[in-house]
Amino acid sequence: MKVSRAWLQNYFATELPDGQILADAFTFHSFEVEEQTGNLLDLKVLPDRAGYALSHRGVAYELAAALDVPMKKDPLRETLPNWPQSNMLSVEVEDPKKCLRYIGAVVRGVTVGSSPTWLKEALESVGQRSINNVVDATNYVMLNIGQPLHAFDASKLVQKNEIYTIGVQEVEEHKVSDKKTGIPFTALGGEDGYLLPEGTLVITDKNNGDKILGVAGIKGGVVAEVTPHTTDLIIEAANFEGTSVRRTAQRLKLFTDASARFQNRPSPELAAYGMRDVLALIQQVAGGEVEGVVDIYPNPTQNLPVSVTTQKVNELLGSSFSSDEIGTAFKRLSLSTKISNDTFTVTPPFERIDLLIPEDLIEEVGRILGYDRLPPAQLPPLAGTPDQARFRGIERMKDQLVEQGFTEVSTQSFAKKGDIVLANPLDTKRPALRISLQENLDEALAQAQHYALLVLPPGEKPKLFEVGSVFPKEGEHVELRMTEAPKAWGKDFPTFDNLSKANMEEYGNGYEPKHYTLAPFKPFSLYPYIVRDVALWVPQGTEPVKVLNLIRGEAGELCIKISLFDKFEKAAKDGVPAKTSLAFRLIFQSFERTLTDDDANTAMEKAYAKLKSEGFEIR
């Protein structure tokens, strides 16, 4: 949620601190700050607070508590007007579980035009585009107090006996000719291509064959768009059930500011405050008169009181907060609290739908007083030894294999074939859960054989193992699999084991796995490498390392590894002195590009020249 400091400032009599200080206040008391650029903040409002805080008012409320500076006004604590009942509008809600409240209003005689500068600037300050004064008013009030709103051009609806009839209903099966598609829908702004499947909750014109005016809680349709010619409006301030809105938004891939709010289930009480503010603002910026209002709200909601004691707060947090401090936290949050002895009974205001159990109140105390006040405490010792036997058994197996020259790899659990298949694989080539580690281990071995020259001592062949879960139809278990049987265990030893069956607990009991210190990660190149061998005769007694260093000095930076891979002696014979053959393997690789033969040849020529100049005979 993008918020602007200037907008928040409307809620405070004293000047707010700069963006960075605001960001810190949010970070440690309320929300994660995703981005802060000057006076624009992008806040990550999580689901528990999103019911009340996806608005500048909600964010200002949090800021007031975090900074301990009271708000100068709170639109949600100001009274609601008594609207006249509309004689021109009727609303029919099909399922009150999907539409918890619907307030409709008729406004006549507006002049649609551009918005005043302050309104344009306010919207633009949070990255929104100004459209016209009426639409801007609905957006402003939503961003200000969190209630999604919509304005329909009344003239686009059919009146029967001078009455407009709005319907809130689901798309019926018989209206969808092809079940796979749905009813075509063109959203405001002319975006078309949406197909509304059966069951989509929509706003309709009941007097015009249930013509679809909008997708409930998500987006209005172009059919009743407010244009410069519009004079009469039907305003909607409703509350649509969160799951239904979320599912529809996902199905249509149409995510809007309205859907983001409804899916977090704001209180239906909020709709009335939204209507109050939007009617006032429309009249202010576009003129017109409110004809009347219809409010369909069959099951009003009310928050229940929640109690917590000072002792319980401190027992859960490990704090030593006094009752006074706890009372301060509730006061900073403007929570109406009854205190008797050390018990606090909070009756949350209607918008705080997140305060249901004592632990919810404890979180409020913790975050407002600050988690930095919790001392790091040590857990008391437990009787007995903690049970790590199974872990140690498995690690003991690994230690044995490493001793035998095996290298551990880790591979992916998804496979081309298997007994259990995913309904929604990410990689459609690997839709199943592996039934064995074999397939991956084969691939890893082929790869390892190619890379062995880079990482293993010369002449060493890679031997791999993996420990991982497999999912055959007999049931999930942990498998150990090796690319060959360890020599020391005899060649008839199987190359796999079911570690869920083997008694790893007993095997690990009392075993202390080997510990290693690892140096920091050493990046390796992902480009191909080139291998060159050089064999030469050197006088007997010549240190191979001396020769190796000569080569290294000439081979250049692209030579990442040189190793001696063969050495033998030729005894003196027929007056020729004894000599030694050395063979070195050079590996060339770059971090920036694929090397060419020329790169390697050039380096080798330099090395040959150097070796010859030292009097060695290249074989």
Binding site: E32, E315, L374, Q378, V402, Y516, K567
Partner: protein, 259 residues
């Protein structure tokens, strides 16, 4: 006469014919030891979980966004199961065991593989490991302050003596209060900074109840976070995709010394 000798000189330090452990195993041994000293055992559970242990018991209700197809893999089975999306499912199973065996205190770490249906990049993988865990005891004996103590000690032993942590408010359906835990990390030769490491909180009373425990009698904290992330921070690994692609170059990218 010619005689062959075993080559004795290598340009690289890996002259040993021993194999290599995956860095994750090396790390888990250190982690297990540090938590072991604070009374934590190690618990395991199935990677392919039922809905109850992965979601319902943790108060992730049937219509919660986390259960959607775009976040979670589902099997074609009836009823469907999920490659677990977190190891908190193991916590649920351990809490159930506490209830069954009548235990009033238990501390466990649950390392294991988890699955998320999301596009991969240098910091996201569809398969990764989590280091989950919990401590539960009689009410008042295991608090949010203890979570701070346990993890401060862990990081000071695992990362370095200057390590410290801080809590920020957060939200998870299965903890209340919920926090994010940041680590103060000073990479060699660089300025220290705060890194977001994992989520945690006090187990929600509803979760304890779902497992058959009485929240009036016991309470505790739980946490969960990426294991690769911890290793990436400690050893400077730039890309999470190195961990589980079976590439031995990654396994050999850390010079090792046995202690």
């Amino acid at each position: 006469m010619e005689s062959k000798n075993t080559p004795a000189v290598d340009g690289q330090p890996h002259a040993t014919p021993k194999g290599h452990l995956h860095p994750m195993s090396v790390a888990m041994r250190d982690i297990a030891a540090i938590f072991g000293n604070q009374g934590f055992g190690i618990a395991y559970g199935p990677e392919l979980e039922d809905e109850f242990h992965n979601f319902d018991a943790l108060r992730v209700a049937g219509d919660h966004p986390a259960r959607d197809m775009q976040d979670t893999f589902w099997t074609q089975e009836k009823p469907p199961r999920v490659p677990r999306t977190h190891c908190t499912s193991v916590t649920v199973r351990e809490l159930e065991r506490m209830a069954k065996e009548g235990l009033t205190e238990l501390r466990m770490i649950n390392p294991g593989k988890v699955f998320r249906n999301e596009a991969t990049d240098a910091t996201h993988e569809a398969q990764f490991y989590q280091l989950d865990g919990f401590a539960v005891g009689p009410v008042g004996t295991v608090t949010l302050a203890h979570l701070k103590g346990v993890w401060t000690r862990f990081y000071q032993e695992y990362i370095g003596p200057n390590a410290k942590i801080r809590f920020r408010p957060s939200y998870f359906p299965f903890t209340e209060p919920s926090v994010e835990v940041d680590l103060w990390f000073e990479a060699p030769g660089k300025e220290g900074r705060w890194l977001e490491m994992f989520g945690a909180g006090m187990l929600h009373p509803g979760v304890l109840e779902n497992a058959g425990l009485d929240p009036k009698k016991v309470a505790g904290f739980a946490w969960g976070g990426g294991l690769e992330r911890l290793i990436m921070v400690k050893y400077g690994v730039p890309d999470v995709r190195f961990f589980h692609n079976g590439d031995i170059r990654f396994v050999y990218a850390f010079d090792e010394k046995q202690i």
